[in-house]
Structure formats: C-alpha cells, structure tokens
Symmetry: none
Subunit: 314 residues, 2 copies
C-alpha cells in the first residue's frame, strides 16, 4: 500500500498538533479503512528565493486588512486554492533605511549593558535617532485605527487613567486566529521610553497592565492568564513603553531570553529593589547593522566577528 | 498608489532575509519605477485545521523522497503552483501510541513560583522524584563518555577545583555543525540542584564557568563570547547545576523567556542581592502532563484550561 495514492480515502481521526510558527501540522487517521492508525505530518516548505516573485501574479487576489501611515497589510490569495496556500503580505512604502535594516538578516552579538553604558551610549543614541511615534499618537488620540482598539482603560472611569491607563490593540503580526493571539498594551503616558525608565513609581501602571490586560483578554477571547505570555522587549522596536500579550502555545519572534522580559519578573524585580532597572546590567542581542552596534564598537565594547560558515563542521 | 494592484510591475532589488523556520521572506524593491524603496514581507499562513485535508486531493502530485521502515517522506505539490505552495509530508504507518504522543501538543501553563511555593511544593517534589544522576557522576569521574569531554578545569591546576571546577561536554542535541554549537558545562560540586540554590557564595563558580567556559570554546572552536548564548534552564531537565553554551544565531529549543536565564543576568542579580534566587518569584512554563503540574493543581495554584480551538476566529 502506498498511502498518498489513496489519500482521498484517508479518514481523519484528530489533529495531534498544529505548530503555527513552523507551519506544520500533525494528524492521526486511517487509510482506506485499514485499522492501524497512521500519523501524517505536513509542513510548508520555506520560500525559494529564486521564485519569490511568483507568490504574486496577475491572478492573485489581495484583501487589505489594514492601512496606517506607511504600513499596509494584505491577505494574498491565489484564486485556485484559498484555504491552503494563502500568504500574509505586509508592505512598507515608502520604506526608510531603518525599515530596510529592521528586516535584514545580520550577524548578532550579545552586549552586557551596564548602567553607565546606558547613560553614556544607549540613551544619547535613542534620543538622537528614534523613529517617529506619530502613528502611535494617532492611535492614542483615536485619530486612526480606532476600530482596532479592543480595550481602553478609560471605559472603566478610573481617576488615574492618564498615569496608569493603556489601550489594547492587535499586533500587526496577528493573523486573527485565536491560537496565535497577539495583542499590545500601549500606555497613555508619554515619558516612559523603555524598561530602563521603570521605577517603583510605575508599579501601579505595571500591575494595571498585568491585571486589566489579562482580564480584558479573558473577557474578549476566553484565554486565561496562565495561558498568556506577557512580556516586554529590550531593546524595543519603538521607544514608547508597551507590553506584548501572546498565547503561550504560539511562538512568535522575540520571545527569546536576551530580548523578552516577563512583566511578572519586571514587577518582582522592582518590588525587590526599586531602582533595579536603572542599576542592573541588561544583556541583549544586537545586530551588526544596528547603529547602536557602531556606538559600542567605537568604545571598544563590541568588535565585529566573522559569521560561521555553515559548511564547516566541528 | 495601491502597491499590490501593480505588483506585476514590482522590481526586486534584493532579498533582505529568508527565515526558513517561520517560512517568511523579506525583500526590498520598487513599484512601477517609483524611486522610493518598498519593503515587502511575505509569510505563509499556518495550516487551517478545518481544511487540512484539502492539502491533498486527486490533483496533488506526490514525490517520494525517503522510505525507511514505517517512515515515508514525500513532496506534495499542487499541479498549478509548484514553487510556491508545495508541502513536505511525512507518513508514519503503522503508527504506535508513542509515535502519536510524540506528535501531540500538550497544554502549557505559566506558573509564578514564589519562595514559599518552592519550599512547600517544588522542593519536596524534586527530592521525592528526581531521576538518578549516576550517568552524570560517571562522566565526572571519567568512568564514561571520557572521550566526549572537551575541557576540564582540572587541566589548569587551580586549587579550588572541587568548588569551582567544571567539565565541558557536547550536548546530545548538537549535530556537530559549528553554527549549531551546543555544549554543556557540568559543575563538579554535587549539592547545587538548580538556580534556586545559588547564593553569593557561588559567584566564583559562576564567573569561572562564564570566563573559562567561553575561553575554552574560543580556543576549541574560534567562537567569541559575544556570539554565544550562555544560559541556565529553570526548571532544568536534571537537578545537578549545569550551564548551556549555544551559538547565538542558532535557535535550539529552550531559549525562550520563562525557561532560559542568562548566566550574566544571574551573576548580576546575585551581585545586586545575595539571596536573589531564594527570594525571587520565578516564572516558568509547565506542561499539563508534568507531575509538578499535578502538585500545583492540588494546591489550587493552576487549573486545567481548554486548548484553543483554531476554528474560532477573533
């Protein structure tokens, strides 16, 4: 018996696993009424660089999901096969050098950023070169994406909303499927750039995000807090403090140690030492093309290394 | 201008990145001769559980790549679109219960383990049920795997080797390729079960692992410390303190926040507060099938949740 020849007579018993990051699914079932079970594992192939442009052609249907400033997001569906081979396509146009860099693969380095390095290297760099936050202020002021706002602490009429309030928005990367849940909590306060600025004064804000954010997600989507990964990036991709909420069994980019910091750990560290995030040495990965890499290189803190050639064996 | 309407006039400048694990590609190019660059990011959607069987139908072409015992592996290509939407399909037939378990997904939970929960739940569980460490003591005593030992601090004749010494061994998961480098530092001291046992007294041991481990790897493999991810698991897979050294651009399992703790962060935390790892609340993910999950469930700390059904959309 050669199972695929008879695949139209395969009866599906159950889905065993669906890895949404790798785009791999495993199912159990039977061929042609044979009693012994079969496990079938299907994984999408990676894109072939030589034929990437064939993904879109004259027959492809585009459905716009989102448009804000330079960002557009589409579902891109070949007409013959809507369910199976559709792709998500994000377009940034016009794109700046920073956008281009953000999506380029690069040698990576670990840097151990001390308090002093932050003050003398990282902070001046952030102040001198960060991307515009206008798109974000547009959201906070309900000037754009207002239909995308899933939750606003202002709906609860608390007095301290300017200090402790936030909006919950779906992340651009979220497909909309529940088991890939990905929301961002964007704080209303405008003077917290990142983790480094958090002090004991921000504990009410942080606990508000943890508790009200989780409660809102439970109410909206039925996902309990124990099934959420709630974290912050350092360095973040933009310098207005925000918190990532993702479904625990989903594995989006940016959940690795050296990039992601759990909100519960942040609260715990500040409770143990009020100025933890000013004093701590924070370790993170940095790309060689990141202008911040150059600042560290100039000071002799990092130096370029060769990428390992994959064809070499140990 | 609506870029996708004109996608047939898109001219590709270069591939920025091709993530073969996520099946995502980013390219830079221009629309219709416009001078401003655009970044286009295309990612394949995950499989939709409701329509997974449509991946294969009467028109699908199968090419057998491999057959070994119960395993068969195919390329499975829809006839209209060979380059873009083909899938890899592995079939295990007949499949045993173990095959089925191996490919089944398990619910995961985040637990926030306080000092008290460690003392009253986790520690008794570890002491009552940990697996034998005889295989590891055999390594430390050069009774087995001695040809696998890549480095031994004893070679440097330091006086405190019993307290601060360690061996460097390749991890079982290491393929041997340099760009997938994966070594473990196993300490010689026998009374440190995990992160939770580390105090200010262990700083010399931890710094020794960081510095001598990195130096040995540079000497053996030419990989600099800035290109290494050096971390500890909590919970670990065995309760004899050990440290993971992996190549930074490699992404093995177990490098996510909620599981991995950077050695540099551990040293920094203990320097900031000597009893940090006794006092801290440590957050980690736990599988429903882990016996420790049952301990937390009995105490009302965790409760079973339903897995999200992918067919629901937000």
């Amino acid at each position: 018996m050669d199972p695929p020849q008879n695949f139209d007579q395969f009866s599906l018993k159950r889905i065993l696993m669906n890895d949404t990051q790798r785009k791999m699914i495993a199912v159990e079932g039977n061929f042609n009424g044979h009693q012994e079970p079969a496990v079938v594992v299907i994984e999408k192939y990676a894109f072939d660089e030589a034929s990437v442009l064939n993904v879109c052609n004259a027959q492809t249907k585009f459905k716009k999901n989102l448009e804000n400033d330079v960002y557009k997001s589409f579902s891109c569906v070949p007409p013959y096969d809507e369910n199976i081979s559709s792709n998500k396509m994000d377009i940034i146009y016009p794109a700046t050098d920073k956008h281009i860099l953000k999506f380029s693969s690069q040698p990576l380095y670990f840097v151990q950023e001390t308090e002093e390095m932050y003050q003398t290297i990282t902070l001046p760099h952030i102040l001198g070169s960060s991307l515009s936050l206008q798109w974000l202020y547009n959201c906070l002021e309900y000037k754009s994406e207002k239909e995308r706002i899933k939750y606003d602490t202002a709906s609860e009429n608390q007095k301290d909303d300017e200090d402790n309030g936030f909006l919950l928005l779906p992340d651009l990367k979220w497909s909309g499927k529940l088991n890939e849940l990905y929301l961002l909590a964007i704080i209303k306060k405008r003077n917290i750039k990142s983790l480094r600025d958090l002090t004991i004064n921000h504990l009410p804000l942080l606990k508000n995000i943890l508790n009200k954010g989780s409660a809102a997600i439970y109410k909206l989507y039925g996902v309990e807090q124990s099934q959420l990964r709630i974290y912050v990036h350092y360095q973040p991709s933009f310098y207005h403090f925000h918190v990532h909420f993702t479904y625990l069994m989903h594995t989006p980019p940016g959940i690795n140690v050296g990039k992601a910091h759990l909100l519960t750990t942040i609260i715990n560290n500040i409770e143990m030492q009020g100025n933890y995030y000013q004093k701590a040495t924070l370790d993170y990965t940095i790309k060689e093309s990141d202008p911040l890499f150059n600042r560290f290189e100039e000071k002799g803190i990092l130096r370029k290394a060769k990428l390992i050639d994959e064809s070499n064996n140990a």
